[in-house]
Amino acid sequence: MTTRYSFGGDEHLFVECDEAMSLDAFFKSLSMTNAIRDAGIKGVTEICPANASFQIKFDPDLIKPNDILKEVQGIESAAAKTEPVIRTRIIEIPVFYQDPWTYETLMRFRERHQDPTATDLEYAARVNGLADVDAFIKAHSDSPWFVSMVGFVAGLPFMYQMVERQKQLEVPKYLRPRTDTPKLTIGHGGCFSCIYSVRGAGGYQMFGITPMPIFDPEQSISYLRDFMVFFRPGDIVKFKPIKQDEYDHALGEVASGRFAPLMRDVTFDFRDFQKDMTGYNAKLEGALA
């Protein structure tokens, strides 16, 4: 992994921890952004972590671009020595896979898809060498996912599957982006899954929908009253397949203010995870039981 620094105009420093996505690159980015936050560098106005890179917004009237570059480069070696351990949350996200709303949408945009004769799930199963849609849903929901970035639009989580690279589900994005995606669609592009926080354009394959809002500008949803965005980088997500009756029930619970996301605080140790991913994931998921 080679760290690459570049300026985005006179107000942003862009730091690429690695060209390729990996949890190593994500942890390097996370430890550097944490160290930069702790350092309280004058003139830093915002720190934006991404999957394998991050960006610092600064005020060049308060700190010279070359000075902030030197400060951040100085933090790189120190950050490399920090323990890859984070205090975070594991959250169960109920997903109604093969729901009628994403189905209606994907049929509307079939001519923009690689395989107009199949659904997104059928296509995803095939390109991943899986027997059928059920096998794909099982692979998607059997292992947890790391929130490696929050963004694109308000509160949208990018999630990276916590399995060996050869087991990771990979699906190309649509050939041309759609102009519509239902709110709370579970999407997938490249190696990343996402949850569309708002309705709008999108290029990721669509697999299902969750009843659990993750962005609420009104802050009326019970668990979004303190802050309108649910996800944070470092969150761990476990998808739970649900049927339509459970989906409808959950929607009712959300509307009446009774829905509470199933989530627990956990400590995640990247070294232990790398030693035995399956065993470590089982332990993490145990916190949800």
């Binding site: 105009g9 006179d10 942003h12 060209e19 996505m21 991404a50 308000a154 490249g190």
Partner: protein, 323 residues
């Protein structure tokens, strides 16, 4: 007092200087596309420079004022009328109760800023009154204004009508427009011949140009340095592992049409970027119409900082002229 919206224009939103601090969660800074125009409009009517105004693009709204006040319209050149009588731009105007503000066709530029003494008094959302329509956040009910809306106005400070911003201090794009760009980010992904053509070619603004981003056409497609795509990046040579996008960054999906991200930018994604428009020139983009010929001009960091200082000096001159 309130402002009654008789006609909303094409897309008119409440904007101030934006909500910095939430881009790491995908919520962009927002705020006026042409910030200098917003600051000037507020200064003209005696507001704080960052008070909330209306920003209208291409077509002006029709507004009725329920009480006497002062207003100012800055930014694009779009003939201003009060009860049908033409009024000067960049000037503090006295408005009587019941008078109607309307506009003729746009002559040059793209966006006007309408300031009213006391500012548009919608509730703060994450520290700003700016409208972020995708997130239904801020502004008037999280959306562009519509006919029948009644916009609340805050308490006005004192001020006097008739003062104006001298012509020489009104900043407008040239023809062709020139946007200064600091190469960087993934600049190394394209061949030297494409690095040269990007700056040599004349581009023009595409119809897909809004607060989120401005697309350009007409230049040669960029050619990529050959490589095996990194894991997670996607198969197209213009793809990268999804990263943050700086404000002003220029992504070129497929190497074809550059897109400059603006105030309502998406915060990240999977397209490589060739560089970033410098902070001093961001306001100019907000005044570009579709089909406007545009050149990208290479600049280094020292040049970017000098341009930033020039722009600050211009703002100081406007402040001094209106003090």
């Amino acid at each position: 007092m309130t402002i009654k919206v008789l006609h909303p224009g094409l897309s008119t939103t409440v904007q101030d200087l934006g909500r910095p601090g939430y881009f790491h969660l995908g919520i962009p800074v927002g705020g006026a596309m042409d910030r200098l125009a917003l600051r000037a409009a507020n200064l003209l009517v005696g507001n704080d420079e960052g008070a909330a105004c209306l920003e209208a693009v291409f077509i002006g709204p029709q507004l009725e004022f329920t009480a006497p006040t002062r207003i100012a319209v800055t930014g694009a050149e779009m003939p201003i009328k009060l009860d049908g009588v033409e009024q000067p731009g960049w000037t503090a105007l006295e408005v009587k109760a019941g008078q109607v503000l309307s506009f003729d066709y746009l002559k040059s530029g793209a966006r006007i800023i309408i300031a009213v003494a006391g500012g548009i008094d919608v509730p703060l959302a994450l520290g700003s009154r700016s409208t972020y329509p995708i997130g239904a956040l801020g502004g008037f009910k999280g959306r562009p204004i519509a006919a029948g809306d009644e916009l609340p106005v805050g308490a006005a400070a004192s001020g006097k009508a008739g003062v104006s911003v001298p012509e020489a201090l009104r900043r407008k794009p040239g023809h062709p427009a020139e946007l200064r760009v600091l190469p960087g980010l993934y600049w190394h992904r394209i061949l030297p011949e494409s690095q040269a053509s990007f700056f040599a070619d004349q581009w023009k603004v595409a119809p897909e140009a809004d607060r989120m981003g401005y697309r350009f056409r007409g230049g040669q497609a960029l050619k990529f340095v050959a490589r095996e795509q990194p894991f997670g990046a996607g198969s197209d040579p213009s793809n990268i592992v999804d990263s943050c996008y700086p404000y002003g960054s220029i992504q070129v999906p497929g190497g074809k049409e550059p897109i400059i991200l603006h105030r309502d930018a998406v915060s990240g994604g999977g397209y490589f970027m060739v560089g970033t428009v410098i902070s001093a020139d961001m306001d100019l983009i907000g005044q570009l119409q579709p089909n406007m010929p545009t050149r990208f001009v290479e600049i280094d960091m020292d040049g970017a900082l000098a341009a930033r200082a020039d722009r600050k000096a211009l703002l100081q001159k406007i402040r001094a002229a209106l003090a």
